[in-house]
Symmetry: C2
Subunit: 408 residues, 2 copies
């Protein structure tokens, strides 16, 4: 049985007219598959409406109860779409998280999928041509409704595709696929036909708009073929794959920017064993994720330590540092939220040297000062002043010829 999984986001199911378009996509999908499993998000705006309701009712809404509340958004989408399919003569039914069940952990609001029972799904697929699954939701070991966090419907879809060994998982969204750069910044940004899972993971900042990061991890772990494409144009989008043939391997896949960066510098920080743990331990405990970290060479037993956090976490991070300062006499805490990160991403980088040097040269030629650098096997990231971000993205896209297809 060839099963197609299709996921449609909130803007795709916002109203009746759009759901009719989605129905056409499902019918087209069924033309090339035996059965379809359609995963839906809440209608655009619905989750925010429900979250606002929770905030109105409680200054600190219980996470488990909030999940009971907000999961109604996807339940509503699934019921309405199942009606629409049945009106068109299709054998369809809605399926909720608890009915499958999609078992998660107990981390309400950001639950992780532990397992998906495929037996009932397979049984229903004997009776129905389309199962309309409420995305974003699961059920915890204690039988309570859980939700997977923002963008969780992507994860629902990929996880269902893995559990059902689906031939394809199509993620329909309001963009046409993954681009070499943000088309809003780079006019000749090119849509990629393929992207390797690892690259997609590194594109988190850009990918967040296209595909939820945890769904990519899931796809990579279970080698789920994912096709990111547009609900509205229906043209071919970008395929997420494990690897491309060496001959076709481009050096780079794209350049991304991340404006959600704030920098904290600890000046004259005492340099002794355990000081890093003393700084980053409390930050982690406060739920703050640190992105880039640079430590300058020590001088006279003190050092400068610089790291970046998400802008929304800046004040919280400064408060944590304030608390730690008592234990680090003489240390000065500086911060700057007018910084951005520009990154070059590509698995082809692994086998080529000189990419970093060329990137730094390119930025220098444009008089863009590099504040911090971090590199991985397939990514080079530079922290720069925010005002230079568009300039930097365009210059790097141009320097590495990303507008020209390596495949064509």
């Amino acid at each position: 049985m060839n099963i197609l999984v299709q996921k449609f986001g909130g803007t795709s199911v916002a109203n009746l007219e759009r759901m009719r378009l989605v129905r056409e996509r499902v019918k087209l999908g069924l033309a090339g598959a035996d059965k379809a499993v359609v995963v839906l998000s809440a209608r655009a705006g619905e989750t925010n409406r429900l979250l606002a309701l929770a905030e109105e009712w409680s200054s600190n809404p219980d996470p488990a109860e909030r999940d009971v509340l907000i999961s109604t958004g996807e339940q509503t989408s699934a019921a309405l779409f199942a009606m629409l399919l049945r009106d068109d003569g299709l054998k369809a039914r809605s399926v909720l998280g608890f009915q499958i069940p999609i078992l998660t952990d107990e981390e309400y609001g950001k639950a992780r999928i532990r397992s998906i029972e495929a037996d009932r799904l397979r049984a229903w697929l004997k009776d129905y041509d389309v199962l309309v699954v409420a995305g974003f939701q699961g059920i915890s070991p204690s039988g309570q409704v859980s939700t997977l966090g923002r963008g969780g419907s992507d994860t629902s879809a990929v996880a269902l595709a893995a559990a059902l060994k689906a031939g394809m998982c199509e993620i329909y969204t309001d963009v046409e696929g993954v681009y070499t750069a943000d088309p809003g910044i780079v006019s000749n940004a090119r849509k990629l036909d393929y992207i390797v899972y690892d690259e997609m993971l590194e594109m988190a900042s850009m990918g967040a708009k296209v595909l939820e990061i945890r769904s990519v991890e899931f796809a990579r772990r279970y080698s789920v073929p994912v096709h990111v494409r547009s609900t509205f144009t229906g043209t071919r989008g970008t395929m997420l794959i494990k690897e491309v043939k060496k001959m076709e391997q481009a050096l780079l896949s794209g350049v991304t920017q991340d404006k959600d960066q704030a920098r904290i510098t600890l000046r004259a920080c005492p340099d002794r064993p355990g000081v890093s743990a003393g700084i980053f331990g409390p930050l982690a405990q406060a739920g703050i994720t640190v992105d880039m970290i640079v430590q300058n060479p020590s001088l006279d037993g003190v050092t400068d330590m610089t790291f970046t956090v998400s802008r929304k976490d800046l004040l919280k991070a400064l408060a944590v540092m304030e608390e730690e300062r008592g234990r680090m006499p003489g240390m000065e805490v500086l911060h700057d939220s007018n910084v951005c990160k520009v990154s070059l991403i590509g698995v082809g980088m692994r086998n080529h040297s000189g990419v970093a040097a060329k990137a730094f040269e390119t930025l220098a030629r444009e008089n863009v000062n590099i504040l911090m650098i971090s590199t991985s096997e397939i990514k080079i990231s530079c922290l720069i002043e925010e005002k230079y971000i568009e300039l930097a993205v365009r210059a790097l896209h141009e320097a590495f010829d990303l507008g020209k297809s390596a495949e064509g």
Copy 2:
């Protein structure tokens, strides 16, 4: 363990302010019981909003999918109220139909409860002081969400009280209890302290506003003590009981009116064996409930047959009669929707004669013409012209001294 079941309707949970008042009712309830099971309806207007959505999406919404959709209304109420209780330091959680489970049949939209599993509820009641149950919903044998039809939350509450052997089932509503007559018509209508299940069942037309009829059947079958009272005033309401002591037994409990009546007369209907089946069989098949029926004595092999149906069913009933007319040459079909039913109700009637005679005399004295009569052991109903309805209710209430307490 002394368990109190409390049910609050849509107007009682319409907004945050009202839910806070409901929270006070729950806390007062907990002062006299070990644990509380609170059953909530959808917030006022929510079910209609969801039904309108279903109608927008489909001209003929699938009943099972419609249930998936509208059950979100009670789910929302339960989650929000559980948050509110927890904010106040109470140990509370929401409970959905599938989690208990409340097992129903497969009649989506008007499902009947088959059984309620009390084990999980009892286990939760060890950890929580208040369980907030989403009313109106259950789960069918195939695991799909089902709803119990309009007013189904009353049935949820009474059925839960029966399953848990609760000490009391309080039904909170926007009226203060059950009255001897509609206070909007009769100024000295008196709130009843007690009413017998059988009387409450006969008060269907009036009771529909106070208590859903199926919940009364449930209460009677399992002898659940039910207390109908107001969310807003908090005063003592009306207790539903099995029987009152003979000494305290009033002759009558109330007079009710039912405006939802339409009369159909079949004139010169051939009077032969099976003709009734030929008329009422097709009506039943069309899902039309017939209320009163009168057949005049036969003359020359033809008879006049008169019956009443709900006004919303009149056109459908006339269409059914039109189809049958071919088989009954000469028959004439007349109809009138300007008719109402006035009823006297009381278990005390069983042991007293002359109630009917006094009722007919009273109506005659007011020049109210009686169009049809039907009686049971504890009820006398008269069909009259609609324009006389308030007059008739007031006259009967006065004639039988219902404004004066038999108990006081």
